[in-house]
């Protein structure tokens, strides 16, 4: 099971990074959401994995899943919504104000990329 969680974190992170490096606001926002999943799961996993031992106290039970990372991640999930919403309103504002949804101020990098592509052909 550990391998499943670790590899999921890895996959979420790498897709998240890839999307954050795109040139438009929407994929960047989606990428950040993916990074948020990855970070939250990582933090949660720092309490180590446990199955069928929720941290709800019951008589006679001694072993429980680590409650502390769970509490921290719970607020992190809610806050991540707030963060996403703020970033989205930035994105909307810049799109509506500027007429495009590019994340880069100038097109230097895009042009360079195109030029390279053309040169490649």
């Amino acid at each position: 099971m550990e391998l499943i969680v670790a590899s999921s974190i890895g996959v979420l992170t790498s897709v998240g990074i890839y999307l954050v490096l795109r040139f438009r606001t929407f994929p960047v926002i989606v990428g950040m959401s993916l990074l948020t999943y990855a970070v939250n799961v990582f933090l949660f996993a720092s309490g180590r994995l446990a199955m069928n031992h929720p941290p709800i106290l019951r008589d006679g039970l001694v072993f429980y899943a680590d409650p502390l990372p769970q509490a921290l991640v719970l607020t992190a999930i809610v806050i991540s919504f707030g963060m996403t919403a703020v970033v989205v309103v930035f994105a909307l504002g810049s799109y509506l104000g500027l007429g495009n949804d590019k994340v880069n101020d100038d097109d230097v990098e895009i042009d360079q990329g195109r030029k390279r592509e053309e040169a490649g052909r």
Partner: protein, 950 residues
């Protein structure tokens, strides 16, 4: 009155002038005066103890771990300075009341003045040097506000900025110096530091600490080459100039030199640095002052010169020097404040401060003339005026001081300085008041009312009183001087303050200075011509050049690094984090894997496969944004399921609810944004990104893999939480107890952040709607076909029917949260979704019309309830947010538990509801369009619109 109250009085009082100014200028001034008088009376109430030889100390722990405590100390030196600050402050307030014009905002002025006063009093009463630094920086900031008080004048703004730059930089240096000093001694308390002279002077850190502290003192006290800010601070209203230059601001540096004198002085480096800078400053200031035509500029440079004199005296390191310095601080404060006030009166009455346009005012303004003459002659150092006494002591000290071996260098320079000092004093009196009465003054000068001449006249009484009968203040001066010298210093035996000390070298130097000064004024034209021909470089242009260079350099660096390409920053950031992580992994140690892994289950593998497939599909198909959202939804669902599998029911519920609102939010955003992402990156760029992304994924995945298989390096605190959750916190759901009890303060901060985020979204939306975007939004046409039935009947009915049910579920989840999975966060999200559904089904306007409380109010109420619950613990004598609980039995309901944490959780609940709703509602607000007419009946199908579209 306790020391803390004395310091706090001006700060608290600073609130009053702004409030009282509405009731009239007179009330405002009287209230301000009352504040300063209160502090002064408080100070006087402590005076008997101090004069009796006691050092009053008050200690309030603040951050004892850092050695930062609000320790205050009142000894002779502190008392002397605090009395000067508050005493002159009283006179300044009276004077300022009559000086300020009707259109000046008096409340603002006096508020700044009191802030400044409080900061100054704080400096002189601090025992802890860290606290002193705080007050020190506060004086820089509040003087910035005072100097720039006339915001409409560019001079004022530039002067204020220059003062802040120079004194602020000095302050930074001083922080370093003070920290070094505290490190040497091992304590940040002045009372301890002052007893460790040997330890400090023997330390290898002595020289750096000394240089840094001196930088702070010299910038504050306008010592050469940092003197140039002071004349530019003249753009301030004259009461400010009078205050800053006589008793405060510039005296802060002097105070600190005096305060640290017992431990820092006496070394060769101290002597050359301090005495040298002082003497040079005195000369530069005096010579420049003579050739200034602006009355206030003349006085400003004279202040620089006199500060140099005092610094020189302290720098000599002798007991006699310290005594003379203390005496001159007192004398200078008296005559300089009076002189500034006369300059202000002349400006006020004649509407000019330009000496070239003045002259002959003696007949028109006899009272002002008398005051200016008395104070001016004191500054010149004429017998029977107080300035004479301390100047004689200065010359006496100079006569016995040698730079670089025996020689006449110091006495000669001191005499030249005193000569110019006499000359500019005579010029101030002569060229302003004497001579023919002119007929071209910009205004008709006459003596002002008593409110303006009273304060300087009072100071003149002091000037004459001290000058004629120095014996009167001798005990005071000796007392303060002893406080400066510390335990080892001694007043020279048999020495008394007196006008006549016999025929000494100092007397001859004095005679030369006065006669030479008089002669210099008589040949002023020739001297001024010579001065102009010399083309002395102006400090301001040098300063401006340095600033321009610094701005250009930082702009170059900033523009080079920040070219606005976010993708590049993000790439650099990722690569840097990766590099750091690799470095840490290679150089650090890791624990060998020791945990047994859990066996895989088929369901888990299926979920994992779905997650990986969705993520990879997202990377490939992200250009189709709607599809991307669906894939994100799958990912969120898988993550929630993961939380279910790994024993985190609270997390699973939170994740899935947040997923719902996030998807709604992104759908709302997609309503405005384009539906597709164009392909604009080249293959190379994409390949680079893929490499970076793969490396990042491998790194985090590998790290997680390593972490999950190894045990905790240090014992976890979770066991404590598990053990105490029920008995200490009264709940069996440990996660919830941690949130509302153990780490309630964190949660409190987090709900505040959430509330702020929602308010930011609201504010940005409002800003968007207030700008040109509004029309664009309002007139836009939807880019895809819309359903003809905007509010489908089935959906409307369904959402309305289930709303009470959903709310009931929310209440249930809320109530059971302390013991079973649930709680304020989750219940808040459930309730928010119930409300959002109404918006979705019945439309924004329908929902808005039925909304009773604004969402901001709900956020505020939530934070308030949570905060009040925390404060409630204070009343039972426990720290903030200590929870308590009890069991209640109300028949016929089963016995249940009531915990104060539940009220806190209610605050969480309300904040979450308010924040989520305010964010989503803001986005919905943007969606308002011209072609959507609002109907009373949201369920109606609108055939006309269907035709429109076709």
């Amino acid at each position: 009155m306790s020391l803390v109250l004395i310091v706090l009085t001006p700060f608290l009082g600073a609130l009053l002038p702004g409030l009282m100014v509405r009731t009239g200028r007179q009330t405002c001034a009287v209230v301000t005066l009352g504040v300063t008088l209160t502090a002064l009376v408080g100070l006087i109430s402590q005076a008997p103890a101090v004069l009796g030889g006691e050092t009053v100390i008050q200690q309030i722990p603040w951050m004892p771990e850092l050695g930062l405590n609000l320790n205050l100390m009142l000894d002779g030196l502190g008392l002397f300075f605090a009395a000067l600050i508050l005493g002159i402050g009283v006179l300044i307030i009276i004077y300022g009341r009559y000086y300020l014009a009707r259109e000046d905002n008096m409340g603002e002025f006096f508020a700044y003045l009191l802030l400044f006063q409080g900061a100054m009093v704080g400096i002189v009463l601090s025992d802890n040097i860290l606290v002193l630094l705080v007050f020190w920086e506060l004086t820089s900031l509040s003087s910035f506000l005072l100097i720039g008080y006339w915001k409409h004048l560019p001079d004022g703004r530039q002067g204020a900025r220059m003062a802040l730059t120079v004194t602020g930089m000095g302050g930074l240096a001083m922080i370093g110096g003070m920290l070094l000093l505290g490190r040497i001694v091992g304590s940040y308390d002045l009372s301890v530091i002052l007893e460790n002279r040997e330890a400090i002077q023997d330390s290898p850190l002595y020289v750096p600490a000394l240089v840094l502290i001196l930088l702070g003192c010299f910038t504050k006290s306008a010592q050469f080459p940092f003197h140039f800010w002071l004349p530019h601070a003249m753009a301030a209203p004259t009461p400010v100039s009078a205050y800053l230059h006589s008793a405060t601001m510039v005296k802060a540096g002097i105070f600190l030199l005096a305060r640290t004198w017992p431990v820092l002085s006496g070394t060769e480096i101290y002597f050359y640095l301090v005495a040298g800078a002082g003497l040079l400053t005195m000369l530069v200031g005096a010579i420049t002052a003579l050739f200034k035509d602006d009355l206030k500029a003349l006085l400003a440079f004279s202040t620089i010169s006199h500060l140099g004199l005092i610094v020189f005296l302290l720098g000599t390191g002798t007991d006699f020097g310290a005594l003379a310095a203390v005496f001159h601080i007192l004398n200078h404060a008296a005559f300089k404040a009076a002189l500034f006030m006369t300059a202000g009166i002349v400006d006020h009455e004649a509407h000019t401060r330009d000496i070239k346009r003045l002259g002959g005012l003696a007949r028109l303004m006899p009272v002002t003339f008398a005051i200016a003459s008395i104070a001016g002659l004191a500054m010149a150092g004429i017998p029977l005026f107080n300035g004479f006494l301390s100047k004689e002591m200065f010359l006496e000290e100079a006569a016995h001081t040698e730079f670089f071996g025996p020689g006449l260098l110091v006495p000669v320079l001191a005499t030249v300085g005193a000569l110019f000092s006499a000359a500019y004093s005579f010029r101030y009196i002569g060229h302003t008041f004497l001579g023919r009465v002119r007929d071209d003054y910009p205004a008709k000068p006459h003596d002002p009312g008593m409110g303006m001449w009273g304060p300087p006249a009072f100071l003149c009484v002091l000037v004459l009183g001290i000058g004629i009968l120095p014996g009167l203040v001798e005990p005071l001066v000796f007392f303060v001087a002893r406080a400066v010298m510390g335990t080892e210093g001694q007043i020279p035996e048999g020495y008394h303050l007196a006008i006549w000390h016999g025929v000494t070298p100092a007397l001859w130097m004095s005679v030369v200075a006065v006669l030479g000064g008089l002669a210099l004024v008589l040949i002023y034209r020739a001297a001024a011509w010579l001065w102009a021909a010399l083309h002395v470089p102006r400090a301001k242009s040098i300063f401006d050049g340095i600033i321009a260079g610094a701005v250009a350099a930082s702009r170059g660096v900033t523009n080079g690094l920040h070219d606005g390409a976010f993708s590049r920053y993000a790439g650099v950031f990722m690569a840097a984090v990766l590099a750091l992580g690799v470095h840490a992994w290679v150089t650090g140690e890791s624990v060998a894997p020791s945990r047994e892994t859990l066996p895989m289950t088929a369901a888990a593998i299926a979920g994992w496969a779905l997650l990986v497939a969705a993520a990879l599909a997202l990377a490939v198909f992200h250009r189709n944004r709607l599809f991307a959202l669906i894939l994100v939804g799958i990912l969120g669902l898988m993550v929630s399921l993961g939380f279910v599998v790994f024993s985190a029911p609270d997390l699973a519920m939170t994740q899935i609810l947040v997923e719902v609102v996030t998807i709604i939010l992104l759908l709302l955003a997609l309503n405005f944004l384009p539906n597709d992402t164009p392909k604009e990156t080249g293959g190379l760029k994409r390949a680079k990104d893929i490499v970076l992304a793969a490396a990042g994924g491998l790194a985090t995945g590998g790290l997680a893999w390593q972490m999950l298989r190894s045990d905790f390096v240090a014992p976890t605190i979770s066991d404590y939480h598990l053990e105490n959750s029920y008995y200490g916190g009264g709940g069996t759901n440990v996660v919830n107890v941690i949130l509302v009890d153990f780490r309630g303060f964190d949660t409190f901060g987090e709900i505040i952040v959430l509330g702020i985020a929602a308010l930011v979204i609201y504010a940005l939306t409002e800003a968007l709607l207030a700008g040109p975007v509004r029309a664009k939004l309002y007139n836009r046409r939807p880019d895809k076909n819309l359903a003809g039935d905007r509010h489908p009947l089935m959906m409307v009915v369904l959402t309305r029917v289930i709303m009470p049910l959903v709310l009931l579920v929310a209440i249930y989840i809320f109530l059971r949260g302390h013991n079973m999975p649930g709680g304020g966060f989750i219940a808040g999200l459930v309730a928010a979704i119930a409300l959002v559904m109404q918006y979705l089904a019945s439309g924004f306007y329908w929902a808005e019309a039925r909304q009773r409380y604004p969402y901001h109010g709900i956020i505020g109420a939530g934070v308030l309830i949570a905060g009040l619950t925390g404060i409630g613990a204070w009343f039972t004598g426990y720290p903030f947010l200590t929870s308590s609980f009890t069991y209640i039995h109300i028949p016929p309901i089963e016995e249940f538990e009531v915990a104060s944490a539940m009220a806190f959780d209610l605050g969480v609940f309300l904040t979450v509801v308010g924040a989520v709703m305010l964010s989503l509602e803001s986005f919905a607000r943007l969606a308002r369009r011209a072609d959507q007419r609002e109907s009373e009946h949201p369920m109606d199908i609108d055939p006309s619109r269907v035709e429109d579209r076709a």
